[in-house]
Amino acid sequence: MGFWQRFLQLDRKWIFIGIAIVVIIPLIKPLGLPIKPTKPVIDLFTYIDTLGPESDPVMVVTGFDPSTMPELMPMEQALLRHCLTKGIPVISFGGLYPAYIGMAKMAIDEVSADFPDKKYGEDYVFLGFIPGVSAVILSIGIDIATTFGNDYYGTPIDSLPMLRGVKNYSDISLVVDVSGSSTPEYWLMYAQERYGVNIGVACTAVSAPAFYAFLQSGQFVGMLGGLKGAAEYEELMARKGYPTGRRPATIGMDSQSLAHLLIILLIILGNAGYFIVRRGERRQGIIRRKK
């Protein structure tokens, strides 16, 4: 049996080992493969980047649980970092479902630890979960203080200096929903269409195609899709010289790229082998027939 024949029957364990290697090695020793930001990411980044300390706050909504955390946590952290770096007031909203609040807390705690000069209540606030889903989105459009009452830590909204003068969506420059589900559609339907607030979306690679239509129609300001979107956002921040932290998405993206390349390589080699073996078999067939 020739090399190609054996290759075609390659035990899948070798493929598994290959995938493990190309995923693990870049995580330990990042390669720094180049990343080229795409338009939806640039749009969202630029929108936030033009804001400043005097702008209306940006609201970052947490919409994911541990199952989609690998993709979405880097996005949420990059967005929070960007805002804090630029001094844009940030409202971190713990989400429409109770399962998301833990993720939101983790994100804001980790990021704010890197910005010791930013004060809670003045530079950023953290709003907790309240039940109601679409009713919550609607009532933020009327009055934030009465919707939430207190922030996550139990402080009345009225006594948070940052939120003075922030009444509803008309005083918010952008809502970004970092979501592992279809909640961006709720924000679109209830906040954007009803109240005209700008919406950005950060979602998993799987749900990104579903939101493309809204992006094209201009209903979303911009979009981060999957680990790639997060990595592009980190890249844009790095280009501007902003602090980016550990850049988890960029690190992950190296693994992602290598894994894709390995799979493609396997497909190509598999087909090459297939054709070589088949041609060999055909030739043998011809020889046999001649005999």
Binding site: V23, I24, E71, L227, G252, H260
Partner: protein, 209 residues
């Protein structure tokens, strides 16, 4: 960063490794993780069922005032399942099954019609607003043709001859492109999951990245 000292993180890490051992071959570690997993998930489901469903939707309405006595009917219906213990009355289980399956069948009909048929058809008409540019016109016609061919591919009661056969051939071309695209598209998400698990092992557990 250094290796984790939390017993919980260690537990999670060991279970993770046990599952990955399946990639080499079936072994007692995988088998242990598998059975723990099956057991814990079932226990979890039962707990959730108890607190989120049985207590608020059955126990409380029935035993707390105002008593919702009508719930006796589904309970009787449910008790009919016990018929399977006896040969003579085993047919009794057909009643709750008929109720449950029949009810859902009726419930699904308008929903299926709306989201799987009407919305899809509604979006597929070639209306003048789809012909704003050359590219959009080509795309609109391609989608339209692809949809036609795919539907014809699934036609059961006609021989695939002449035009019909050709259309079905075109249909399978579109279907294969769609499958390839879906496959390729999913690769990214699956690799991301693996990266997430590896980051857990390397960062949260071993503390080496």
């Amino acid at each position: 960063m250094s290796i984790s000292t939390s017993i919980w993180v260690w537990m999670a890490a060991l279970l993770t490794l046990m599952v990955y051992s399946f990639l080499y071959k079936d072994n007692p570690f995988y088998r242990l993780a598998e059975h723990i997993f099956m057991g814990l998930s079932l226990g979890y489901t039962l707990t959730i069922l108890w607190y989120n469903y049985i207590i608020p939707r059955v126990y409380e309405p029935l035993f707390l005032p105002p008593h919702q006595w009508s719930l006796i009917f589904p309970i009787l219906l449910g008790m009919m399942t016990f018929g399977i213990f006896s040969k003579k009355y085993s047919w009794l289980i057909k009643y709750p099954l008929a109720f449950y399956v029949g009810g859902y069948a009726g419930l699904r009909i308008p929903l299926l019609l709306q989201s799987w048929i009407i919305r899809q058809v509604e979006a597929s008409f070639l209306t003048p607003d789809k012909f704003t540019s050359l590219m959009s016109s080509i795309n609109a016609i391609l989608i339209f043709a692809g949809l036609f061919a795919t539907l014809i591919y699934f036609y059961f009661s006609k021989k695939r001859e002449h035009g019909f056969g050709a259309a079905a051939q075109v249909g399978i071309v579109f279907i294969m492109v769609a499958f390839g695209a879906a496959f390729g598209y999913t690769v990214m998400a699956r690799i991301s999951l693996l990266i997430g698990r590896m980051q857990f092992l390397l960062h949260d557990w071993l503390g080496i990245m």
